[in-house]
Amino acid sequence: MPASRLKVFLPLIVFALFAGLFYVVQNNIKEGRYDPQALPSALIGQLLPDFELPVLNSAENKIATKSDLPRGWLLVNVWATWCPSCHYEHAYLNKLAVTGEVKIIGIDYKDENAAAQQWLAEKGNPYALVMADQQGRFGLDLGVTGAPENFLVDPQGVIRLRWQGPLDEGVWAVNFKPLITGAMK
C-alpha cells in the first residue's frame, strides 16, 4: 500500500525539507547574501536628514551642516574607535577614498574626540569631512543601531542604500557600485 508507506516516511520527508531550508538560509548567511539582523532602513529614498555637528579635525570648533557637504555621490560612514569592525573596515575606506568613486563623510558616533583624532592620525584619514556625533542624536535621525553603518547618498542628496556592518571590496562591488554605475547610464 503506497499511501500508508508514504505515511511512515512522512517525518523523514518533513525533516529533509526543513534541513534543506536551514542549509540554504545558513549558506546565505555565511556568504553574506542574507543577514537575519539587518533591518530595512526607513530612510531609503528620502533626503539625508539635516544636521549640525562639530567638525572633528577643526581647531576653531567649526560646526558643519548639510550645506557643507561636497557635491556628487557620498558615502556616509558611521564609525567609532570603540567599534571592532570599524578597525577592519578602515583599510578599505582608505582604498575607496583613493578611487574617487565617492566622497566619504565620516560620522564619529558616540566617541571621544581625542581617541578619534589619534585613530585618524595613525590609520589615515579617508574622509572628505568628518564630524563628531558625541550624543548620537544624528545617529538616531539616521536610524543607526550601532557602528559601522554606511549610507549611500546620491548627488540629489537622497539616501539610496543602507549597509549595516563593515564595508569591504566584495560588499562594495555587489551592493554599492551597481547603484552608482546604474545611475550614470
Binding site: 533591518l39 526607513a42 548620537g136 538616531l140 543601531t145 550601532g146
Partner: protein
C-alpha cells in the same frame, strides 16, 4: 516629582495595602464576635507576617526584570505613559526585546529620547511616529493594521479557525452510522463466536 521605578513601587504597594485592609477587616470582625483571646492574637500575627512575607516576595520580583532607571516625571500619568511606550517599542539592535528590557546602548539612547520628548510635551503618537520614521515599522510591537500587516494581524484568527475546523472534522462530525443493526447472519456468527470463547455461556 515621581520617578518611574517609584511609580511601579507605588502600584505594587497599593496591591499589598488593599489586601491587608481586607484581611484585617475580617479579623477585626472576628474579634468583635468572640472577644479577645491570646490564641487569636498569635494566629492573627502569624497570618499577617506570612502574608506580608509572601507579598514582599512579589514586590521584590516585579522591578528586577526591567532595566533600573531613575527618572523624574512631572506627574504619574507621564510616568505611566513612559513605561507603556518603552514596553511597546522594540529594540532595533537586540531584536526580540523591547527597549525597556534591553541593555543595548541604542535602547538606552531611545529611552532617553522618549523621555526628552515626553518632557517636551509630545503626544504618544508623535513619539511613536518619530521612531517609526527612523527605524521603520519594525520598532513598533503594536503595528498598525494595513495591507502589509494584514497577514500578521489575521494569522492568529486564521490559525484558530483552521484548528477548530480540524477538531470539528475529527471529533464532532463522527456520526454514528444510521444502520447499526446486525443482520440475521451476523447475529448468528456473533452467537457462535461468543459460545466458542465462553463455552459455559454465563457471560454476555
Amino acid at each position: 516629582m515621581i520617578s518611574s521605578s517609584l511609580m511601579r513601587s507605588v502600584s505594587s504597594f497599593r496591591l499589598i495595602f488593599s489586601s491587608f485592609l481586607r484581611g484585617s477587616e475580617s479579623i477585626s470582625s472576628h474579634f468583635m464576635d468572640s472577644g479577645f483571646r491570646q490564641n487569636d492574637a498569635r494566629s492573627f500575627f502569624a497570618s499577617r507576617v506570612l502574608r506580608l512575607a509572601f507579598l514582599l516576595l512579589l514586590f521584590i520580583s516585579i522591578p528586577s526584570f526591567a532595566v533600573i532607571e531613575d527618572r523624574e516625571f512631572a506627574n504619574p500619568v507621564d510616568a505611566q505613559r513612559y513605561q507603556n511606550l518603552i514596553e511597546e517599542l522594540r529594540c532595533p539592535k537586540c531584536q526580540n526585546q523591547n527597549i525597556a528590557d534591553s541593555d543595548a546602548e541604542i535602547a538606552e539612547d531611545l529611552r532617553n529620547e522618549i523621555y526628552r520628548q515626553l518632557r517636551d510635551g509630545k503626544s504618544d503618537k508623535e513619539i511613536v511616529d518619530y521612531l517609526v520614521a527612523r527605524y521603520g515599522e519594525f520598532v513598533n510591537y503594536r503595528p498598525p493594521l494595513n495591507s502589509k500587516t494584514v497577514l500578521l494581524w489575521s494569522a492568529p484568527g486564521v490559525l484558530l479557525f483552521i484548528g477548530v475546523l480540524i477538531w470539528w472534522r475529527r471529533f464532532a462530525v463522527k456520526k454514528i452510522p444510521a444502520d447499526n443493526e446486525l443482520s440475521a447472519q451476523e447475529q448468528q456468527r456473533l452467537r457462535e463466536l461468543l459460545k466458542a470463547n465462553h463455552p459455559s455461556g454465563d457471560q454476555s
